[in-house]
């Protein structure tokens, strides 16, 4: 009797650790991965879509999101339901929801990307230094990381922006300050494993300087990890910014999805059932954040060697 097990689709083997910056294979992996993983592909599509929306916001939204609309007779255009002229309707203060949605993508991407860049940079540098040099450098950096982790996230951001001022930059700073330890830790443990690998030993024996080893032999194998964490950080930054805005500590003159939700909430849009006002911004946030999750998940499979292979 022949029993047949389901042939499993197997993900490609992870990139082996090597010296030097081997760009072509790395780039090839970068590009081919989404073709294999439909969700990562969807994630990248979403990112691209929102990037385009942010770029071409002026063309896509004819109305100024902050402009308060009045009828020809001078009355406030308020709480208009979605229709042909205003795809998502108008809020209580006469502003176009659709325009706010479109322009909101700009602030979302700006916040997400800047936070991600800071988190990735700080996390990578700390992880590299900590993992490679060990000793007091490691202890010191990890202590600082621990301190950052014992600060309650949202309350800290609130306190910071509440007292230092409602500026998006403060929010980004606060987010980055509290998110870098996670990536630093993972990168550090990766460096610890790589440090013991044969090719690093070989480099050391042949007299390569510490900095050279760090930069040429270890860093290229770490960078993909940084990207993975950067992708996750984008999502967290956007959600945090939205949360802070929602609580009323954001910049009221800024156009963002979080601000839209704040507006909707404080002007009783919930009780009026103005779903077209507060549902779309949430959906947009979900899309961007989940795109980040999918992308990082896809690249994690490729770049993070699984310690227990199957």
């Amino acid at each position: 009797m022949v029993e047949r097990a389901e042939s499993r689709g197997v993900t490609p083997a992870p990139l082996p650790a090597r010296s030097g910056w081997r760009l072509p294979p790395m780039l090839r992996r970068l590009v081919t991965m989404p073709l294999r993983d439909p969700f990562a592909f969807a994630g990248i599509t979403i990112y691209v879509l929102f990037a385009l929306i942010a770029l071409f916001a002026d063309q896509l939204a004819p109305l100024d999101p902050m402009e308060i609309l009045f009828t020809k007779a001078g009355k406030l255009v308020a709480n208009v339901a979605p229709g042909a002229e205003f795809p998502f309707g108008i809020i209580n203060l006469g502003r176009d929801i659709y325009a706010q949605l479109i322009y909101g993508s700009r602030s979302a991407l700006a916040v997400g990307l800047s936070a991600a860049v800071i988190v990735a940079t700080v996390g990578t540098v700390v992880g590299l230094l900590s993992g490679y040099f060990g000793g007091w450098v490691d202890s010191l950096l990890m202590r600082i990381a621990d301190m950052a982790l014992s600060l309650p996230f949202l309350p800290f951001v609130i306190v910071l922006t509440g007292f230092l001022g409602a500026d998006t930059r403060n929010i980004v700073l606060a987010v980055a300050l509290l998110l870098w330890p996670n990536s630093a830790r993972v990168i550090r443990s990766q460096v610890l494993t790589l440090r013991e690998r044969a090719y690093v030993e070989a480099a050391r024996v042949t007299g390569a300087s510490q900095w050279r080893i760090l930069f040429v032999h270890i860093a290229p194998n770490i960078l993909p990890l940084s990207f993975v964490y950067a992708a996750i950080a984008i999502g967290w930054a956007i959600i945090t910014e939205a949360s802070v805005n929602f609580l009323g500590f954001g910049d009221p003159t800024s156009v963002s999805w979080g601000m839209m939700l704040q507006d909707a909430f404080s002007s009783q849009a919930l009780s009026r059932g103005q779903y077209a006002w507060f549902v779309p911004p949430g959906i947009c946030i979900i899309l961007v954040v989940v795109a980040g999750f999918f992308i990082s998940r896809g690249y994690e499979e490729v770049f993070m060697p699984r310690l227990r292979g199957r």
Binding site: F153, L154, F163, S243, L261, L270, G282, V290
Partner: protein, 325 residues
């Protein structure tokens, strides 16, 4: 035992660091150094009392130690706007936050563990391929937005639940316990808990699933099969038992993290908890109250981190029982 002390020291130091950071942060606020604890809202007597209590006329380093000493006795100053001791105010609202957090986490974790194990069971099926991204989407939605949608739908639209607060006006109770156990309280608690549970279940689900997948490939699971043990016993008795270890630790950590994260949920539902207190205090610049609320949240976080360490140490025999050779 040595390990326990080490973890205790570690967490205590972290809390100390947070307190110190807070101390200096509030001193650097706009206004005079006294502004951290004194405000024109307080009457003259109260101002004088605060001056003495916190040694506000002494040098900075002395103030620091007085501050720490006060904290250990539970003295956190007077709220500018309520003109009552901060500690009293916080202790009044603490139970609400604790109940919200615990109820949501317990529901989220029970569901997450069961669903995660089940999804691991369904490895490779189309269901799993859709379910995992769907769960990721629940983690991608801001908690308060889920709250808003549910509030609009289930409360305003359908009228199933009250729209906010922890109690309906005009209720009288003889004791705090009676209030908490009342139907009215539960009705108000329902929607916030549903929202939070929906948001939180993603983590235990994904964690349990990935742990189960890993454990199912362990050699001892294959051995259990070779012994001819029933599938039930293998999956639950051996695989799940091993996979649960990190989940239990995550639960403890989740309690600590949730107390801070509940800020937004409490605002959406006007739930009178510590988070909401913090937000209100910060918006009106009620420094003592804001400080106190923040510290209480940080303290819960540190305590739960320590509890998580303890759980990990006691539940994993590899850590609790040393080698005998």
């Amino acid at each position: 035992m040595k390990l326990v002390l080490e973890r205790f020291a570690h967490n205590a130091l972290a809390l100390l660091a947070v307190t110190t950071i807070l101390f200096f942060m509030f001193r650097l606020m706009p206004g005079t150094p006294l502004a951290a604890f004194i405000n024109e809202n307080l009457n003259a007597d109260q101002q004088q009392a605060m001056l003495q209590q916190f040694g506000l006329d002494r040098p900075m380093w002395q103030q620091y130690f007085i501050y720490l000493g006060n904290l250990l006795t539970g003295e956190m100053g007077l709220s500018f706007f309520q003109r009552r001791p901060v500690t009293t105010i916080l202790l009044e609202v603490l139970p609400n936050s604790v109940i919200l957090t615990l109820c949501s986490l317990i529901i989220a974790y029970i569901f997450g563990v069961l669903a995660g194990a089940w999804l691991a069971w369904k490895r490779g099926s189309w269901l799993e391929r859709i379910a995992v991204p769907a769960v990721l989407a629940t983690r991608a939605a801001p908690e308060f937005w889920i709250g808003m949608v549910l509030l609009a739908l289930l409360s305003f639209n359908l009228g199933w639940f009250p729209s906010g607060g922890a109690s309906s006006p005009g209720q009288a109770y003889t004791s705090n316990w009676q209030r908490i156990a009342s139907l009215d309280y539960l009705q108000h608690l329902a929607l916030p808990v549903i929202t939070l549970a929906l948001y939180l279940q993603g983590l235990p689900l994904l964690l349990m699933r990935s742990n189960m997948l890993e454990v199912m490939h362990e050699e001892f699971v294959t051995m259990a099969r070779m012994k001819g043990l029933s599938e039930w016993r293998i999956v639950i008795g051996h695989a799940a038992r091993n996979a649960l270890l990190p989940v239990v630790t995550a639960f403890a950590l989740g309690v600590g993290l949730s107390m801070g994260g509940n800020v937004v949920i409490e605002t959406v539902f006007s739930w009178p908890g510590i988070g909401r207190m913090l937000v209100q205090a910060v918006s009106v610049h009620d420094y003592p109250l804001a400080q106190g609320a923040f510290l209480m949240i940080a303290a819960v976080l540190a305590v739960m981190n320590f509890v998580a360490d303890l759980l990990y140490m006691t539940l994993d025999p590899r850590v609790s029982h040393g080698r005998k050779g």
